[in-house]
């Protein structure tokens, strides 16, 4: 209860700040109204545990209460009123985090009316935000939860150089998008390299080439730098005027496009860039140095393995598929060992889906990549590979202080698996989000049904 009020207070303060001071960057457009769903204090006993940060513990208990992880250890005492679950022979892991999802913006059914993931009217749309396109009734959210996914970054598509903001969501059923927004998670800015922007805009005024892509990025970073300087001057003038009790200056006109870019320059919005080719990633890294911003993650990153050392040196994550590729030229050089090759170089490897089907089996993608790596002589432990699914994406998304690992004080975003999740028969048996049991494979009443599927063939069926 206390936590809930605290969250509400923080949100209220945010609103107050936004209305009293004119901000140069629009930090939280319509704030989160998410509240953890009421939960029981629970102990999962005698499980095999991957903590998501490289640890593997056998015959171990995981205890969580009030939505937070309290303790992980052997033979923990059981407090009165705690729900006890025998997890003997089962596995416990942090909930999976997908850093690249279009659930809600490209929902099922994929009919034209639902296509809200790409604002293909201009190559520069940093002013738009995926949250305004999310349809919370997408049945894909429920399928992803059954696949152990507890949080995801919903991104706009990759048609545009600057595609717009991405939003971090908790995978909870909700009437509103705000009810899913991960409290205090930073926004992402989706950018795109390569073929997509030039294919979409080549006959519509450009960019028509990779050269045009780069000039489009750079021109807008220059504008953002100028816009930020204007606001800095205004803020300085305002402070001076207040101090000297003079007439207050009027603020510069707001520019939604540039606000997002300034958010990036101020390190408040995370750059997530769709980029396949190694040579292109290397030039984008130079561009980020030119303008002084940080690239968080290259997405798809088919050729990340060719520059695994450069990515590691620059502290940039690569979000990858296990074995997709080949569908376009920039994906032609895919290799099955891309993910383990990033890990081997000391980099930050992430398994992502970009797919309503793939998001349901991210753990299987990790298993395949791990096995392919081992066969090629790259020896990585199961427990280290689990970081690809939870703590690495959490770090990249700026929520690692809250979720992505099983550590005391973190959100109880937890999956109980009926077997080793890297084996083919394994499935999430129970999925907890902030401690609340929101999916149970054995309890049909815990199979959330979206409004869309209600009364339709297959409603409430096992999926």
């Amino acid at each position: 209860m206390k936590a809930r009020y605290f969250d509400a207070m923080v949100i209220g303060m945010g609103l107050l700040l936004a209305s009293s001071a004119v901000a140069r960057a629009d930090k939280d457009v319509y704030p989160s109204t998410y509240k953890p769903i009421p939960s029981s204090d629970t102990i999962l006993q005698n499980a095999t545990v991957f903590d998501g940060i490289g640890g593997k513990f056998t015959k171990t208990d995981v205890y969580f209460a009030n939505g937070k992880i309290k303790k992980i250890g052997k033979d923990l005492p059981v407090a009165d009123g705690t729900k006890v679950i025998d997890a003997t022979g089962k596995w416990v892991t942090p909930g999976i985090i997908d850093i690249h999802s279009h659930l809600g913006v490209y929902p099922s059914p994929s009919v034209g009316a639902h296509s809200d993931g790409n604002e293909v009217t201009s190559p520069i749309t940093s002013e738009i935000s995926a949250e305004h396109g999310v349809w919370p009734q997408d049945p894909g959210f429920n399928r992803a939860r059954a696949g152990g996914v507890t949080s995801m970054l919903i991104l706009p598509g990759s048609a545009n150089l600057f595609g717009g903001r991405g939003v971090v969501l908790k995978n909870v059923p909700s009437r509103t998008v705000q009810g899913m927004k991960f409290p205090d998670a930073p926004y992402a800015l989706k950018m795109a390299c390569g073929e997509n922007p030039k294919r979409v805009y080549g006959q519509k005024g450009g960019p028509g080439s990779r050269m045009g892509n780069f000039s489009g990025y750079r021109k807008n970073w220059i504008k953002a730098t100028e816009y930020r300087a204007k606001w800095e001057k205004y803020e300085a003038d305002l402070a001076a005027a207040k101090k000297d009790d003079k007439k207050l200056p009027s603020p510069p006109a707001r520019n939604l496009q540039l606000e997002t870019l300034v958010g990036v320059l101020d390190d408040e919005i995370k750059i997530n860039m769709h980029c396949y080719r190694a040579d292109e990633m290397a030039q984008v890294i130079d561009m980020s140095k030119e303008f002084g911003y940080k690239i968080t993650t290259f997405h798809h990153a088919i050729e990340a393995y060719k520059i695994a050392d450069i990515l590691a040196e620059n502290g940039i994550c690569a979000a990858m598929w296990a074995d997709w590729g080949g569908f376009k030229m920039e994906a032609y050089d895919s290799v099955r060992e891309n993910i383990p090759m990033i890990e081997r170089a000391g980099g930050c490897a992430i398994v992502h889906s970009d797919s309503a089907a793939g998001i349901q089996r991210l753990y299987q993608e990790a298993a395949k990549a791990l096995a392919d790596g081992r066969k090629a002589g790259i020896n990585i432990s199961d427990a280290d590979a689990w970081a690809w699914l939870t703590s690495n994406p959490a770090k990249a998304m700026g929520i690692a202080d809250k979720t992505g690992s099983l550590e005391t004080g973190k959100n109880a975003d937890i999956v109980l698996w009926n077997a080793n999740p890297f084996t083919i028969r394994a499935r999430p048996e129970q999925v907890f989000i902030d401690g609340a049991l929101l999916y149970d494979i054995n309890d049909p009443s815990l199979r959330a049904v979206s409004d869309f599927e209600l009364g339709q063939p297959g409603e409430g069926d096992v999926k």
């Binding site: 099922s108 059914p109 994929s110 009919v111 049945p139 894909g140 399928r143 073929e195 393995y305 060719k306 695994a308 050392d309 074995d323 997709w324 590729g325 080949g326 569908f327 376009k328 030229m329 032609y332 050089d333 895919s334 290799v335 099955r336 060992e337 090759m341 170089a345 309503a356 089907a357 349901q360 089996r361 299987q364 298993a367 395949k368 791990l370 096995a371 392919d372 066969k375 090629a376 002589g377 890297f422 084996t423 083919i424 028969r425 394994a426 499935r427 869309f452 599927e453 339709q456 063939p457 297959g458 069926d461 096992v462 999926k463």
Partner: protein, 424 residues
């Protein structure tokens, strides 16, 4: 001409000298025969002249003196995987039209188009598929100018120029939402088109063409030949009501060898499909209401159909050639829905062979069958298993691909090598 002579001639015609298979025995593996005695824990498989000549347990099976022996202790030994739906060899990079021979929107022909004319055994996608244990595949075009995509072919994954049979093996027809759109805008239009086309093709005679033909002569004759040869007509439908219409079509055209492809809502009409004896090629991963035609989609489709007595084969129903190799994962994922292992594995080996009329040729480890054998480092349906060796018609296959070459080149990052990667 004697059968033996014909077989010899075929060997001479279709095999390059390098492809002449050695005789060998695979000994000691957990051997999956796909026969009634399905699993032999300590098995022996003998392959001579490219064919399986003997299968049994060690100690009870004679191993010819002097034959080369492959030790498979701790390994699994199975028939090669048969993917019943793929675009492998027809497309290199799907978004690059110049490399994509799957569809032909502007062609005057449709049913007459033959997949084998476009098939490239040197495609990168062949090797990446082969090294995952897939030895046989159905290769099919995609529909675009009419609901008839054309004829598909059966190919092996050896990469040799003789790897595809240059005769139509089946017809592929697109119905459902996509078919409705191609046929003019509605399901009624698509079914009418299909019935008219089948009727017209059946009675087509040169010199006595209908006054206002629906089909070109080439298309009509292609359909006619396929019907006369009892080739499977693979018909893509998803919605339960479309499957019921398909069942009605089969009772109207009694000679038609109908196979349903997709069938996301198949489980809703499972007993009807069983009664109509319509096999289904499906993708178990389809569990989303991707369109209004698949609102009932569930991963349990496969097991429900199988338990209702419907013959099923499992595929990755993807237009992307690089996805065909994932068929093992797709089959494996039915295990968690209650499918037993034997049925899941048969759905990617012997059942596709049966659907395509090749049940005596491929799909089992059985004397007389072609020597397509894979030795795995574990259970082939497990995510972390992979093949150690692949044999096609008794010939040991290369286990490298362009992908493994790229991997090996860049595994050298950090080596003290001053030469650019282009020399490594």
């Amino acid at each position: 001409m004697s059968k033996l002579y014909f077989a010899l001639l075929a060997t001479l015609l279709f095999s390059s000298p390098a492809a002449i298979a050695q005789d060998f025995a695979i000994v000691g593996g957990k051997t999956i025969t796909n026969q009634d005695n399905n699993i032999i824990e300590d098995g022996v498989v003998i392959i001579q002249d490219g064919k399986i000549t003997s299968v049994g347990s060690r100690g009870k099976t004679d191993i010819p003196a002097g034959i080369s022996v492959i030790d498979a202790k701790g390994k699994w030994v199975t028939p090669g995987i048969f993917t019943p739906f793929s675009r492998v060899g027809l497309v290199e990079v799907s978004l690059e039209k110049s490399t994509n021979d799957t569809r032909a929107k502007d062609s005057p022909f449709s049913a007459a188009l033959q997949a084998f004319d476009g098939f490239n055994p040197k495609s990168e996608n062949i090797a990446i598929t082969r090294i995952e244990g897939v030895t046989r595949m159905a290769v099919l075009p995609a529909a675009s100018s009419t609901i008839f995509a054309g004829s598909g072919a059966l190919a092996d994954t050896s990469g040799s120029f003789s790897s595809i049979s240059r005769t139509p093996a089946f017809m592929y027809v697109q119905m459902g939402e996509a078919g409705a759109s191609i046929a003019g805008g509605s399901r009624s239009a698509a079914w009418t088109w299909l019935r008219q086309a089948l009727g017209e093709a059946k009675t087509w005679r040169r010199g006595r063409e209908p006054a206002e033909p629906l089909l070109t002569a080439a298309d009509a004759l292609a359909i006619q030949d396929a019907m006369a040869d009892d080739l499977p007509f693979l018909i893509a439908v998803e919605r339960a009501s479309d499957l019921m219409t398909l069942i009605a079509l089969k009772s109207e055209f009694r000679d038609l060898n109908v196979v349903a492809v997709g069938a996301s809502e198949g489980w809703m009409v499972a007993s009807e499909l069983a009664k109509a004896d319509i096999p289904v090629i499906l993708d178990p991963h389809r569990n989303l209401p991707q369109g209004f035609q698949s609102l009932g989609a569930t991963m349990y489709n496969a097991v429900r159909l199988q338990k209702a007595g419907v013959r099923i084969a499992i595929a990755t129903l993807s237009d992307e050639a690089f996805n065909s190799r994932l068929v093992l994962q797709h089959a494996g994922n039915t295990l968690a829905t209650g499918m037993d292992w034997n049925h899941a594995f048969a759905a990617i080996t012997s059942e596709p062979a049966r659907i395509f009329g090749k049940e005596k040729t491929w799909g089992k480890l059985k004397p007389g069958m072609i020597g397509d054998v894979v030795i795995w480092d574990g259970d082939p349906l497990e995510l972390m298993s992979s093949p150690d060796m692949v044999f096609i018609a008794g010939e040991k296959q290369d286990m490298t691909s362009r992908q493994t070459r790229l991997r090996d080149r860049y595994l050298s990052i950090g080596d003290d090598n001053p030469l650019p990667y282009g020399y490594r």
